[in-house]
Symmetry: C2
Subunit: 157 residues, 2 copies
DNA sequence: ATAAATAGTTGTATTATACAACTATGACGG
DNA sequence: CCGTCATAGTTGTATAATACAACTATTTAT
């Protein structure tokens, strides 16, 4: 396989990943009226007990404005609570309300089915290796994108 | 690792994939004023020489209306040509214009850098196995999603 | 004390996407 | 041959995700 063939294979994988990501995003819509992005926030806060907006922004790797817009409906739905930080007047801490914890539980039950179904589609002896490889691929694309972005930015200067 | 741990690991992988997919979509914006989706269409038509709208719809796995809306700007930009099919009065064939072919070439040169950068981030002896594993993961998520959708639809009935 | 950096919000805009409803055409069965 | 069903594609409508820019308020560094 030549260098160019690898390129095409990687593009095909990325294209397929786009579809797969879209599938996952859809599946969440019929569960507790929470989008996939919103669930990622709820889940992140759930795991940590409490998170700052800037933590979410970094963890999801989206713009601060996007973080604001994903979190706001969760506050409005009273799933998430926001409080000014004690240490930093700019900072806001997020935590789950009781309702938020119940919602997380319900969504996790929903999404667990999907995740277990995914798990079962992968032969048992290949699971660990598959997870490793997907993680490696993720890291590779992320790093390559960052390098590309820096290159493009320095070209613009 | 328990069943639930696997679920969480799969969710983490999917979440990271969302970010990675977003990175890829962004990188295309500064290249020939064509979005990533539009490039996927151009690329698909380029590889085949000619494709029907329904082929694109199936290949990208998006709604027919989405196919319409991704293709239309390409026709407007004169990168893609649409012609009524000889065999089926409903069907439309797409092919690249000369300008479209040139644009494909330029974008491919752009995106090749990214793809090669991704390639280099993966140790040589692990490349093939990584591509295989990502493909397997893609197929697993896709299949699981489809089964989930069917289950949810039959529950609604 | 001042400048620079950070946290977060809001304005603005683009892109992607799906569901529903529609028209036009083709396939199929009676 | 005709009616029904299916398919191809478009358009209306709407939601969600997302980023850049500009802003305010607060913290940090000089």
């Amino acid at each position: 396989m030549t260098v160019n063939d690898d390129g095409r294979e990687i593009l095909t994988l990325i294209s397929d990943l786009c579809q797969v990501v879209r599938c996952c995003r859809q599946d969440s819509v019929f569960c507790a009226d929470v989008t996939f992005n919103q669930f990622l926030v709820i889940d992140a806060v759930y795991q940590q007990g409490s998170l700052k907006m800037s933590d979410i922004h970094r963890k999801l790797a989206v713009d601060k404005s996007t973080t604001s817009r994903v979190v706001h409906p969760l506050v409005r739905k009273k799933l998430v609570k926001r409080e000014k930080s004690n240490h930093d007047g700019r900072s806001i801490n997020l935590s789950l309300t009781e309702k938020g914890k119940e919602t997380h539980k319900r969504i996790w039950e929903c999404i667990s089915d999907l995740l277990q179904a995914v798990r079962k589609e992968i032969p048992e002896e290949e699971r660990h290796q598959t997870y490793q490889a997907v993680g490696l691929f993720n890291a590779a694309v992320r790093k390559a994108s960052q390098m590309q972005k820096l290159t493009s930015e320095s070209i613009r200067k």
